[in-house]
Symmetry: C2
Amino acid sequence: MTSPDLTTRRSMQFWFDFGSTYSYLSMMRIEALAQQRDVAIEWRPFLLGAIFRSFGWDNSPFVLQKEKGAYVWRDMARQCGKYGLPWTQPSEFPRRALLPLRVALVGAQQHWSGAFCKRMMQINFVDDRHIDDPDVVARALSELDLPAEAIVAAALSEQNKRDMRAQTDEAVRRGIFGAPTFFVGEEMFWGNDRLEDAISLAAR
Amino acid sequence: MTSPDLTTRRSMQFWFDFGSTYSYLSMMRIEALAQQRDVAIEWRPFLLGAIFRSFGWDNSPFVLQKEKGAYVWRDMARQCGKYGLPWTQPSEFPRRALLPLRVALVGAQQHWSGAFCKRMMQINFVDDRHIDDPDVVARALSELDLPAEAIVAAALSEQNKRDMRAQTDEAVRRGIFGAPTFFVGEEMFWGNDRLEDAISLAAR
């Protein structure tokens, strides 16, 4: 969705983590919705776990608060049904996603960003497999006809690691407290339930 | 919305607290939506603060987690704009609502339940005034041509106080962790964003 005319087109930021359940819903929906409204997506992978740690939490609130956690699995199944998306409750939650997120950062300005990100989400929330695994990531890139080795090397470069930390610091600075989060200018929208509202504002 | 044929009509439970921001949105919307789908509403006032205390929290998560709290005020203003509802950010949050909730429990099976509950919400979130006040509650009842003194006396009876505690215990037992919450049979829906889904399930 990123394109040379990004600066002149209306755009929105999509902040996500591959471990985040509700980010899965938005990831699978955002490209079609944004395209319909001619809105460009700025892909913003970040480390949600670092945000939680900044609040003094050592895990996802869906794990720390068991009542909400139990609800989330039921809600996710229903939401996927509503959107026509496949769904498998992951046997491990939240899944680590550091390498895939670093790759997504490398790809954020590239044509393959959406396809790669959707594939990572599907591996986690449909195939129920680990995603923080060099083989899994490389295979996904190869299946997209991309130079997997070079991209993984770029993802693991010191510069990209610093960029990933800087991106997460920016999330903290902007007041992000969960994922997915959308920004249209300074206007923040939290949660898949606000995706349509965010796109509508961006398209105005 | 409650009526003699409640047991045969499709119905849903609406669990709310007058101090809850997102319960305000649902309170102002639920009657019209339920009527369109011929769904009866079971009014379920409960003490959200007691639920939070059962999690070890001494206040609303919107107060305890300042990033989320800051977002909620912006989101509420936008949501009210979307639904065409008036909105004033309350100068005190969360407002105590024990007496109004006890009155709502007395009225749960009565024709005036929705009108009274909406009025309490408007006083909190539009007029920005205290609601846990006998004069405010009595005036609201009188304006609905109801016997205010008798209803407040019933609300303050030992039986009704016990019933209020029992209702909140039931909320805990059912896994409720926030408000508004809707139940259609055993199916739980959390948040104003799920109101339409809950009504659709009830209407099926």
